[in-house]
């Protein structure tokens, strides 16, 4: 059975680094190598940044759920920031780089499984899985 750690994070940018440190310790304790730990740190940071950027009320905060088992780490970043229209998301054009829009693309590139659930008027959950292999 997986252990579950839940972090309740204030909706302020300065706390993203603390989440990153916590996730780094967890991933290390499960036995991920350095490259995988870096991948997880970036992906979780991107998801937290996403929660902050979509938040109309930054003071509202968001939750980070970490499920740890022998072969994988599952991290879900959940906000109640009103969600967004999933159809409006476009993959970034890498030949013509823009300032924004790389976060989800990077998460998908670094994690083994990524699911995004969003509902307009409610919020967004980004669920990310990394296997220890």
């Amino acid at each position: 059975m997986a252990d579950l750690l839940k972090l309740s994070v204030p909706g302020k940018p300065e706390y993203v680094g603390m989440v990153r440190m916590a996730i780094s310790c967890l991933a290390n304790s499960i036995g991920f190598d350095i490259e995988a730990i870096e991948d997880i740190k970036v992906a979780v940071s991107e998801a937290c940044t996403n929660a902050l950027c979509h938040s109309k009320n930054r003071a509202g905060g968001y939750e980070v759920y970490c499920e740890m088992s022998d072969d994988k780490l599952v991290v879900s970043v959940v906000d109640q920031s009103g969600g967004y229209d999933k159809n409006s998301y476009k993959e970034p054009c890498l030949d013509h780089p823009q300032e924004g829009g790389l976060g989800i693309y990077i998460i998908k590139a670094l994690m083994d499984e990524v699911d995004i659930f969003t509902e307009l008027g409610y919020g967004t959950r980004i669920r990310m899985v990394k296997y220890t292999r």
Binding site: V16, R20, E38, K41, V42, L94, P97, E99, L102, I106
Partner: protein, 106 residues
């Protein structure tokens, strides 16, 4: 998380060397944005970003650099990254930004 940035201008080469130390994420990316804008407004020149002492960067930092790259390119100047650590180089490669920003290493 902290970010310290050192910058110096070489008038003979017409080149800024900017050295960020620490981590660039959503909380510190505005510091990098201000530094790049202030430098370029102070003296027009190319910018070399030396990442030797930068431990971490995510899409927020990439966005700032892409913005600066676009604004400088319009005016005929370049921004080049050097010495990125393995974790940062991986992000640059994933997003193909290594091709336009890491020209010195090719």
């Amino acid at each position: 998380m902290t970010l310290h940035i050192q910058k110096s201008f070489d008038p003979q080469k017409g080149l800024w060397e900017i050295v960020p130390q620490g981590e660039i994420d959503i909380s510190t990316a505005p510091v990098l944005r201000s530094c790049l804008d202030e430098a370029f407004n102070e003296e027009k020149g190319h910018i070399v970003l030396d990442f030797d002492q930068l431990r971490y960067m995510d899409s927020t930092g990439l966005g700032v650099i892409i913005g600066a790259y676009s604004r400088m390119k319009e005016k005929g100047y370049r921004i080049v990254l050097k010495n990125p650590r393995k974790n940062i180089l991986k992000l640059l490669q994933i997003t193909n930004l290594d091709r336009i920003l890491c020209a010195e290493q090719e």
